[in-house]
């Protein structure tokens, strides 16, 4: 697929990386069309369950679940389920192939046997992929994430070449709004998205790796984000952390790397009961400690030092599987991590634009 407008944006929001040789006309197209899509504004109240469904006036949107799992032998696994929606033009969803929506699914399973990933694409309008609120159902081809209206109970399944998983998710805490009541800035220049999470899922189910089925339990984290604006020019990629601390608290952190100047950092501290504290850039210290060469020759940091002095957090975050490379049309790194230091824990790390 040519890195056309929709993928550029998907990529820009997901990764902020430079797509290979982006055609100039795509950027021109972006500029022209941006006005037609709904803008992301502060003081816009999120409403549930409505906002669990697709936001057709916006250009780009995703449903993102990462799960840290463990089997009866104590082996650790990670599962990722992602659905991207991207609109070719502004306007409501229409029936038939004429629909403006394109859908892209990514799934991965990381475990003792390594990291496996899959990708699937679909057009909107014909029922091949979509998201509805009541009852909640997000699907693309044979992958789905579905359950109760309040997304408190979800079944999540996906699979690819040599792997599959079927997981049940039960939430034990409230939804979490990031930034200013869900208005999450991505740069100092006003680029933003609506962003909320459900980080309190308990998981049971099974994963299948090369034909072997393994029962697993663990924790999962759902991210929901939608926007119309790409990242600012000069932002080259991002590093994103979702951490389940053994204390019961959760942390979401990200930094958007700038070509020139220090990266833009932000995050949310979530207490064990779901109270949130916005973390601003100066409250976050991120330091890459060790790098791993991926299958395509790219070097990505797979061990980090994360410090939140105000919260007394000083931990090392290390990839379970340093080769968790997503070999999709737009490759990036995404995998489970182990936390050690001032507190233990598990989590997920996503790195794009390397």
């Amino acid at each position: 697929m040519k890195p056309e407008a929709w993928l550029l944006i998907a990529l820009a929001l997901l990764a902020g990386c430079d797509p290979p040789q982006p055609p100039a006309k795509s950027y021109a197209g972006l500029g022209q069309e941006a006005g037609a899509f709904n803008p992301v504004t502060r003081n816009h109240a999120l409403v549930f369950p409505r906002d669990h469904a697709a936001h057709n006036g916006f250009r780009i949107e995703w449903w993102y679940v990462t799960a840290n799992l463990r089997d009866s032998q104590g082996r650790e696994w990670g599962a990722q389920w992602t659905l991207f929606r991207s609109a070719l033009r502004a306007g409501p969803e229409t029936l038939g192939w004429d629909s403006p929506n394109l859908w892209m699914g990514h799934a991965a399973l990381t475990g003792p046997g390594g990291h496996q990933s899959g990708e699937t694409l679909a057009r909107g309008g014909i029922g091949q992929a979509g998201v509805q609120a009541q009852p909640f159902r997000a699907w693309i081809n044979d992958w789905s994430l579905q359950g109760s209206d309040d997304i408190g109970q979800l079944q999540m399944s996906a699979g690819g070449q040599g792997f599959a998983y079927r997981l049940m998710l039960h939430s034990s805490g409230p939804l979490v709004l990031h930034g200013d009541q869900g208005y999450s800035e991505k740069s100092g220049k006003g680029q933003a998205s609506y962003y909320y999470s459900q980080p309190f899922y308990q998981v049971t189910g099974e994963v299948e790796h090369d034909g072997q089925r393994v029962a697993v339990t663990g924790k999962a984290w759902l991210d929901r984000e939608w926007s119309s604006q790409p990242l600012a020019a000069g932002q080259s990629g991002w590093d994103w952390f979702s951490l389940h601390l053994d204390s019961g608290a959760k942390v979401m952190l990200f930094r958007v790397r700038e070509d020139a100047g220090p990266p833009y950092r932000a995050g949310t501290w979530i207490s064990a009961t779901g109270e949130t504290q916005v973390l601003s850039g100066e409250q976050i210290q991120l330091q890459a400690l060790a790098w791993t060469t991926q299958q395509n020759g790219k070097q990505v940091p797979t061990r980090w030092r994360v410090q939140l002095p105000a919260q007394g957090l000083d931990v090392q975050v290390e990839a379970l599987e340093p080769q968790a490379w997503m070999n999709t049309r737009f490759p990036y790194w995404e995998g489970p991590v182990r936390i050690s230091g001032s507190v233990g824990g598990r989590g997920y790390l996503e790195m794009t634009g390397y």
Binding site: K2, R89, N141
Partner: protein
Amino acid sequence: MSALLLTMQALLSHWRRHRVQGLSIITGLWLATALWTGVQALNSQARNDYARASAVVAGPAHAQLVAPGAQRFDQALYLQLRQLGWAVSPVVEGRLRFAAEQPLSVRLIGIEPLSLPPATNIAGIAAQDFDLQAFIGTPGQAWVGPDTLQQLGVKPGEQAVTSDGQVLPTLVLTPQLAPGIVIVDIGHAQALLHAEGQLSRLLLTDDSKPLPDAIAARLERQPGEDDTGLQRLTESFHLNLSALGLLAFVVGLFIAHAAIGLALEQRRGLIRTLRACGISLGTALSGLALELGVFALLGGLLGVATGYLLAAALLPDFAASLRGLYGASVAGHLTLSAEWWLIGVAVSVLGALLAGASSVLRAARLPLLALAQPQAWRLAQGPWLRRQAWLAGLLLLLALACYLWGNSLPTAFTLLAALLLASALLLPSVLDALLGGLARRCREPLTQWFVADSRQQLPAVSLALMALLLALAASVGVGSMTEGFRRTFTGWLDQRLAADLYVTPRDTAQALQVRDWLATQSAISTLLPSWRVELTLQGWPVQVQGIIDDPGYRSRWPLLELRAQAWEQLAGGTAVMLSEQLARRLGVQLGDRLQVLPAPAPGMTVVGLYADYGNPKGHVLVNADWLRRQRADAALSGISVNLPAEGIAPLKHELQARFALDDSRVVEQSTLKRWSTDVFSRTFAATAALNSLTLGVAGIALFISLLSLGQQRLGQLAPLWALGVRRGQLAWLSLGQTLMLSSLTVLLAIPLGVLLAWCLVAVVNVQAFGWRLPLYLFPRQLLQLALLGVLTSLLASAWPLWQLARRQPAELLRQFADET
């Protein structure tokens, strides 16, 4: 090396004195290669295009899922398979019509770029490299090849409008796309084809899993072989052309052979001298072979270049007839690979070898001290003619065997080839016998000399005469067949196209509306709806047409054979009628039972056979009600209407206005007939052109033979001159000789041509197309061709004789001095 060089110099010096001879060898090889490669260029272009057309979407190994009978099916099946995890990609296709200068119909293929199997190429563009936003967005893109673009009369970036008034997405020139194909996004295709929510097929990536039961009940797997349907359908057409090309090739070789043979005979003395000077046999032979190679290369290069031009000139007609006959699209320009050029030169070399090998071999066997006598007209005629007659007899036996036991197109062509070759080989014997008979009746010295000298010339000119015989016989045969076909076909069209107005609605729903509306029109005397199902019967594509019971059919539908009560049984739904070619292919005769639709539909009795010229698919007539009971998906494909002449035009306009039907969907009888006959005249245009070229080649053969003969014949003519016959008179006598020989050949060519015509209509046509035509003879045409043959020989002899008449007495005198 230097010995070889000297030998070459000596050998080549011959051509300085005999330029015409050298020219004739090159001409022979040139023409032979040109016609053969020209035909091959046409054929290979067509085959390339078929392959491109079938490989547009399906990669070479993609299996597909299709509905039985190649009907469209509900898109829900695609979603169902996708939700079961099947990596399938939907395709919808159909035809779009355009009211260009000539009504144009293109194959519209709608694809879904996101789900295409990973390694798929669409007209050379990888699935990953699609400009998605432009392709699937609004107005989207319509990919077309250069030929289609030209036919549509639009430029890239414009939007074409169908004859229904629908606007295509923006046209994008895609050089690699096969002609006659337009590729758009599936959404645009469904809208343009009025097939919302409908699919034609699903491309399969993984062919190993068994289909889920719910799907298997509705879709069937089609193995991933490339679709060779067009190739199969058009095979006989190409074989026909190849046969003609081969004939021209053989005629061209005759020329080269004659000239090479003559050159060797004339150089016997030279070769003897060279050998006597110490040049080894090997070196001499190498020299001859090298010389042959040079000729072959020159002739080959010229021939391939000319063949290319010839093919380019014939291509428009050729493409038009393929389109008309088979709906096969062939590009209007040639794109040929280097391979093709190499093969052309190789063919020329092969031809030179065929033409020259015997001469080189003869040179090899030449005794060192044999007298260097010019053998050209000293050949011992008796054994030579006998050997040829024996060979001819064997060939005739082969021809007979092919006729009796042959049942394929290759055997039919072998029959033709054996017959032609045998006749050619017999020609000198027959002419010799005729002249012998004539000689016995001649009393006057000059007439006796006239006949005897003609006999003497026979070995030298016989090859040229053979070429004339073959070319003329082929002209007579092919001419009779095409004329006969035209006559049969138009007669058949007159009967078959009996309705005044033919309506082809867009789909069944519209057809029903049209039918109901027409039924309310009082002016209409008969209204005949026909229902259609397309299926494959024993691997052959077949159209099943359901007709209502109407007395009109009894009087108008021409049947070749029928049983008693045939139409009544057909109306009762217990019987079928078949097209002649389908009956032949299935090996079915009147009274046989045939399972037209798969069980549980009942088998039916075959009660009638009819001609269905020009239809590459099989055709079956059944009762409409029966068909609709058995197959709910039968489409109301056409409605024919009879009404008084003055009502036709108003009704047509009313129909067009009321149902938004364009000219291609409401057609008057006269237009339809014109289209049909156009298709056939174009089909034979290429044939006729090749045919006249072959005759031209034969004329050149004769010309060259006579020219070389003329130079050698001075020795024969000088004594006559010495005896008091004037030069002018000598020239006239020689002309008379040539005319006599060629007239006799022409006379023999005519019955041979008629025999050939019979073989074509009764054997080759049956094998090639599945229909047999009555043999028609057209005396006028025969006379014309006979005159053309004589005229050709007259023209061929004019120049050599003109030269003869202008010979200086000194030259004639020198003959006596030279003869030692």
